[in-house]
Subunit: 286 residues, 2 copies
């Protein structure tokens, strides 16, 4: 059930991404398409499931999902740059600055961010709902959301002492949490509904996701993950595992999954896929 | 009259930029503020004058002007990166990657772009007008506008033969023309008016601006310009001067100024500042 829904989300968001980028040509357009291929599509899945819960039209949900996957992809392309994380592998493929070059990677990320806002502005829903999506996406992606988390992450590398649990929680709330929370609430915003239950769900989900990432960084298989692992441990950076221990981190992730599922109680059985997603987030091997 | 209006625009857009960034803190916020200081503010001036022509509220015009200056500033920060133009001086100050470091420059540009869309989404005007501004700004800034121009510019550096006049015109229409055209039309879009006369005006203005840039690159004073000059000539790149000759380039710029002013005839004397701006663009020494 959940796997079928996730696979369906992957197919649908890829079609929406392809359609959005179809009019573009040139090297940057090629690199944008390359960047927007593959991945788990967790954010797209969250958009589509929350849209379904609120009866939003499928095509609008798919385009909204494409927009947040573009923001996610832009952040990965820039994060992989030599001056940032200096990664040469992403989703099992050479990163953009390896496949092309650094200027192409900078411009590809830039253009993906721009296109994400264009897609939301042109959605076929009421103007005030489009504006709510745009305004909240900007807040989630910007200097008090995702970019703040990335900046804190970079600062942590040269910090004299490892981060505390509070600091790393704040860092991850920005770096990965903000987009995950936006995705889960998008369906409610599309429909003019109260996003509070989905906000509580995705707040717990985002943190569980990051704890699972830290666990995978230690226990995972680089071939399956399609990227380098154990980077944080090698760099001596604080992680949820270094701060809580492996047993403590797994326990904390379990507690968060329970909290995430509890937040969905207003939706009853209709939210089973989202509950399964919370379980998936901490059980995945990639 | 024009100088007073330009100085007024500079003061007003700086206040709007400061207000937009006030809630932000951290290194990225500091670098965003640093990046959004100084400059001619031609784009802000165009927004404010076109808004005045159509009776749009001053505070909304100022915030719209701040948004396009953020997009312009983001493009400069990324353009100055070592992997791009590798510039260490901008507006007479060290560039962001010199003053801080490369990751800060990447993230600062990213966050400025995001904030520009947030500012437009939160404007105090009718939803459909905000959406028109967002959608058109995305098209002007993205992979078929400004980023396309930047990509063509980078490709030109390693091209086996210098660009033709048609190719360099297309390059500049994206790289500098698209944002200038958006700025001049923004006041009409804010007011639900026909942007056609301002589009024709700014189309000629944008090209005149770029020809003047190429002339300044040869005849200008680096101390006044606050940046390195003669880079294009040193790199053997085609410019409007190399293609048209200095005399031909100046003649072409003059013709474009006349064409720009003619396009403003529907506005009569009310557009005198915009006409003076066209003259300023080719007479400036920085």
């Amino acid at each position: 059930m959940f796997q079928a829904a996730l696979t369906d989300a992957q197919t649908r968001v890829q079609a929406a991404l392809d359609a959005s980028m179809k009019p573009l040509d040139g090297i940057i357009a090629d690199a944008m398409r390359y960047t927007c291929t593959g991945g788990k599509r967790l954010r797209a899945f969250l958009v589509m499931e929350s849209a379904r819960l609120h009866g939003a039209p499928t095509d609008v949900a798919d385009q909204t999902a494409a927009a947040i996957e573009m923001i996610h992809a832009y952040s990965l392309v820039h994060d992989d740059l030599p001056c940032m994380d200096n990664d040469d592998l992403r989703r099992g493929m050479p990163t953009v600055h390896i496949q092309w070059d650094e200027p192409t990677a900078v411009l590809t990320g830039d253009a993906l961010q721009t296109l994400a806002f264009e897609v939301l502005a042109d959605l076929d829903v009421a103007p005030d709902r489009r504006l709510a999506l745009i305004s909240t996406m900007a807040k989630a992606a910007g200097a008090s959301g995702m970019v703040l988390g990335q900046a804190l992450d970079i600062a942590a590398e040269s910090a004299p002492t490892p981060l505390t649990l509070d600091e790393i929680t704040r860092l991850q709330a920005g770096k990965t949490g903000a987009l995950i929370e936006w995705s889960a609430q998008a369906g409610a915003l599309l429909s003019g509904a109260d996003p509070a239950p989905l906000r509580d769900y995705s707040n717990a989900l985002g943190l569980a996701f990051q704890i699972a990432d830290d666990i995978l960084d230690i226990e995972g298989d680089a071939a399956k993950a399609g990227k380098r692992l154990q980077k944080d441990a090698d760099a001596g950076k604080a992680t949820f595992v270094s701060l809580l221990g492996m047993v403590g981190a797994k326990k904390r992730a379990e507690e968060l999954v329970v909290r995430a599922c509890d937040a969905l109680s207003p939706y009853g059985d209709e939210a089973d896929n989202l509950k399964a997603a919370a379980r998936f987030v901490i059980d995945r091997d990639t």
